[in-house]
Symmetry: D2
Subunit: 394 residues, 4 copies
Amino acid sequence: MVGHSFMGAAHSQAWRAVNHVFDLPARVELTAVCGRDPERVAAAAQRLGWADHMTDWRALLARDDIDLVDICTPGDSHAEIAIAALEAGKHVLCEKPLANSVAEARAMAAAAEQARAAGVRSACGFNYRRVPAMALLRRLIADRRLGEIRHVRAAYLQDWITDPEFPLVWRLRREHAGSGALGDIGAHIVDLAQYLTGDRVVGVTALSETFVRTRPLPAGASDGLTARGDGADGRGEVTVDDATLFLGRFEGGALASFEATRFATGRKNALRLEINGSLGSAAFDLERLNELEFLDATQPTDEQGFRRILVTEADHPYLSAWWPPGHTLGYEHSFTHQVRDLVAAVCAGEDPTPSFTDALQVQLVLDAVERSAAAESAWTQVPAAGAAVAEAAA
Amino acid sequence: MVGHSFMGAAHSQAWRAVNHVFDLPARVELTAVCGRDPERVAAAAQRLGWADHMTDWRALLARDDIDLVDICTPGDSHAEIAIAALEAGKHVLCEKPLANSVAEARAMAAAAEQARAAGVRSACGFNYRRVPAMALLRRLIADRRLGEIRHVRAAYLQDWITDPEFPLVWRLRREHAGSGALGDIGAHIVDLAQYLTGDRVVGVTALSETFVRTRPLPAGASDGLTARGDGADGRGEVTVDDATLFLGRFEGGALASFEATRFATGRKNALRLEINGSLGSAAFDLERLNELEFLDATQPTDEQGFRRILVTEADHPYLSAWWPPGHTLGYEHSFTHQVRDLVAAVCAGEDPTPSFTDALQVQLVLDAVERSAAAESAWTQVPAAGAAVAEAAA
Amino acid sequence: MVGHSFMGAAHSQAWRAVNHVFDLPARVELTAVCGRDPERVAAAAQRLGWADHMTDWRALLARDDIDLVDICTPGDSHAEIAIAALEAGKHVLCEKPLANSVAEARAMAAAAEQARAAGVRSACGFNYRRVPAMALLRRLIADRRLGEIRHVRAAYLQDWITDPEFPLVWRLRREHAGSGALGDIGAHIVDLAQYLTGDRVVGVTALSETFVRTRPLPAGASDGLTARGDGADGRGEVTVDDATLFLGRFEGGALASFEATRFATGRKNALRLEINGSLGSAAFDLERLNELEFLDATQPTDEQGFRRILVTEADHPYLSAWWPPGHTLGYEHSFTHQVRDLVAAVCAGEDPTPSFTDALQVQLVLDAVERSAAAESAWTQVPAAGAAVAEAAA
Amino acid sequence: MVGHSFMGAAHSQAWRAVNHVFDLPARVELTAVCGRDPERVAAAAQRLGWADHMTDWRALLARDDIDLVDICTPGDSHAEIAIAALEAGKHVLCEKPLANSVAEARAMAAAAEQARAAGVRSACGFNYRRVPAMALLRRLIADRRLGEIRHVRAAYLQDWITDPEFPLVWRLRREHAGSGALGDIGAHIVDLAQYLTGDRVVGVTALSETFVRTRPLPAGASDGLTARGDGADGRGEVTVDDATLFLGRFEGGALASFEATRFATGRKNALRLEINGSLGSAAFDLERLNELEFLDATQPTDEQGFRRILVTEADHPYLSAWWPPGHTLGYEHSFTHQVRDLVAAVCAGEDPTPSFTDALQVQLVLDAVERSAAAESAWTQVPAAGAAVAEAAA
């Protein structure tokens, strides 16, 4: 694993747990973790359960005892590490968003396509696909229980930077994070919307805002923030979006609205989805991730209503491996399911999902959103990833 | 109508509205309202829309232009007025609880049985039966959608007297109210439980408490409160229960729990019901009276969940007369539905429900509850009302 | 009153009830109702409680015994009737949306301004301002309890035309309704958003769709639908939007999203609002109209949470006139409150709200939305109504 | 660890995870697991992460490399193993309910008191005390934020045996499980109620029922079920309660209701609590374990409401070690917190909670409940555990 902060901890938990819960044809070993700071990575290895630790990710790729590399660094280093890892013949799990730009994402998707020919697998870490309620909803939609999809209503609401004195962390700088709320949390709802519907967003109109323009430099700010002329007054410029909203059309004709914000006071991690179709509807809130609301419009009108399905039954996705009905799971389990599916696919010689191309498709939406927002909300087409990958490969 | 405070206002609203909403074979006229205080009853008549006002209810009964008497006084006067009205050949709607004692209730039920032979109708005002969600639930249970009933869980939670300085109003004195939370709000959940299940409570064990034993006498306290030795310090004794809880068994084998309290801080009018059967379950909260939660256990396990049925569809009880789907009703509409059903029954020469005998059955439960609470929670049988009425008639 | 279908019924209920609930300096009399069809208007008068009925609205305006005219017709006749009524010196309550076009709305606002000089009052029927939870939220925001507003998230979701065989009623034809979901229900959320924040939408980007393009002509279709070439196959063209979504910016800097749709399967009347500010947030759903969710971000973080305020306390707007705490109101009460405020203002010689100019401001937003949707979502400015009225007056 | 089925898996997860999440002065090692069947325990050791496995728990106790024994067997073996472990100088964590009888529980509590003198620690596994929302509620009540407690309303609702053909597993036989719903899930709500209020139940009246009297013997039924004369028809007798309800009084004067049932169709693991005090109220549902509803009655009445506190903030109990706000925990984390607190206490030379005496206090309530249910709901006093332990020690 490369990187060991928030996502590194979440992924480590999954790697540690997966064999204790699921029957898999292979046993996972946490061989080595890599980070830039020797002391911090040593402490992380100890805390997170990795046998070894390193500071040079290229050295990590050179090791023979490593089959798979899990990339948990900020987005600006994804492309370089992932492409090198694939070329080194390592399977790759790369955190989302796949990259900070379409160009990088395209290169990564092309590299993944090439590696795939050699049996080297890759996947992007859109973990919310593995929340059982989301997997169940995918099944319902694939079974046409919602009929023709008319509306997708998606929002990812957080509030952790509403305080103007919250420091200028790396997630608030474009050079590291690529974008702000859009890439961090907006990426999740774009991926979920496309995954759940089995359709893709083909055009968007967008609006973006940075409510708080400068913030205090973090204690011990590194990464050349001050060198860049910021911080004379101890503050630096926020160079990403605090909030981005966009409307879109799906290829199949559905209308969609998306909102990603870090200024929704009181909403901590409210990823909300509602999908309306000709035969039914569904709704979800990540703050209540064990529940799926489902309405079946084919039932008699006097009995219809949104049912709160507690997604903890043995016949729900992933659940047979866990606890009895009603004994809920949490946020972290989505990562455990993610590595379960990844390991199972690698062992079976199959492609895990979402592929880098799927993740590129998300990136293409984010890119169109940024271009629309920069062009006074002008309607902006989203190309198909397949063509983009072919182009990059050519 | 006799009485014109809270219930009088609610009933008046219903009488005024019913012909504007429902097609009925008769047109309701608000002929006269009766109250003890000449000035207050005159003001009430004006405010509530009654053509005339009087202070002597016997004079009211003597009028030829009155077909039906609606009794909205405190429980201690129900028996006398209702029996006189029935004997005078007036149809009667009597507020719940039917009476303050079983003896009175039995006499009223016997009088109602006699009057019925002469085509004179009577009903008790358990208005919550006419909340559309409750009528819908009755239909579902009658259609065996819940299967064999195993559990009834009922609570009626309010908090209006948690402040120890809230005054000693008539509802807190046994001689006027009969009992406290038990008769006022406990009566509703007993009636609903029996109505919805179509079954009756046959035995109980109970617990009762008065948390605040004395309260300030209300400004202008009348009714001999001070004469009774109370109030030397400006306070008088609370002589009814603040909260009563009881467990019971239904004749059909279901277990039940009931709670009526005025000390559930933050719960304003939370009449909550949950019923579990072998084939399904339902839940309700009066604070969200347009909704019924229904679970159909015959559906595939991965799709089961409590559905929130918004009970505003045209095929829901009473709703075709109101607004389009999703346009909600409120508390007062239960009274409008009550008089709709009453007028329809009277015009059709049929017996409205609940009958005085049904209400006596509730009273018999309340009485058993009081006796159990007074006897260290001893298990106490509840006799069948039919036998009681026959006994009274003999 | 002119018009007597759905809105006519809702308004009549309010006129009948208001003096029985609120203390007002004047007593309302339901003098006459006007409709095109003599038989239907006669039946409506009887049902809805109007003393007289007419078929010529100009004759209605000529009557001396009428002080106020309530216009409940489809939007295409609002301007003509309202302007004539104002010129006849009648106070006017006009249903929303104010008109089917900005030009009409502007003329109406100008007429209202002129009439006002003569003490003739006017208001537009955005009744949801008078839902107590909305009035409470307005108070909280005006008291700066939410701080600086950052996000307004508004949706009005219905599903009554998801069936492609639902007939082509007047609301689905542009010449009568002006627009579809946008004007019918989108108008409400635009007005609420502007009213609650005390701010106005200054620019928008929009997306619109008609999912079902033709529908069966209604039985007895009139209004020249067939004459227009529609209906050779018994079907006619839907000429309004089924769904319209738009993003906007408020003058004060807040971002907003709006959605109005009649294709949200399972959502019956889900007007949902969420507002996030620097100090707090609030959320509302019209399907639970007695509740307001409020988060106070100034409280200690370990105690923060969205509170469900049951808006039924005596110190909540309008509530002291109704029932005890926890005894809920319904949809129709918003109309009762609307006429209460209107009558109070007229008697006090004050201007009721929302004024025609306020309603014109809504119309200007709707117009910008339609223009943006027609221009590939191009960003479209919304002019201020004041200037528009001045221009019309000039 | 002794025992390795459901509870064994949950506890193992906690032991594996605790050092990766919390800073503790000691590192946990999963030394050995013990079970009766050699093959099954070997597989369990592999699956659950134990270094060694054994079939003789006495041999386990004899090992020098074991400091702490975690007892996860059915209740009928708790006393023997726990007392032997304590005598062997091992710290003990024993699953709830502490024992199947008061006599056993009393002996265990006495043994724990003796061992304690030698620095040997013990705790009972009432894991729900460690759900963060419950720990937060304990803090609020201890800080007197709810004031004087008036009502405790507790129910634990499941539905896993509503099907009459569900087999006769060990939990349905008195000789193994002690009781049915009462001891299995009722024990949890009794413990929580006493823990949260800091008070104890002093008297009860109870009602109990077994709805389904015989069930199919499980495939490969052992434990002498058939030998006992059951099963001639392939079915055996259910000898425990399906549902038990009881009312109680707390020493401090609060009234309480409790319900434990396995027949609440559609309720999977609904442990619900509501506590009303003179200054506030709180409500909880284990199916939404990241949330606590809290009402502060000292705030202005027009702003009061139950707040949904999402208990995922860094200043909430246990949360600083986990994920960012809004990233939820699940059922299993209560066990991780339990072992965290246990290890911390053992290392600090302090007594972990709940003690065996605390658990005995729960057992005394359960015993009184069973006696009341067997005696026609007669009011039954609950003795204080302290006295009972002293008596056992004498």
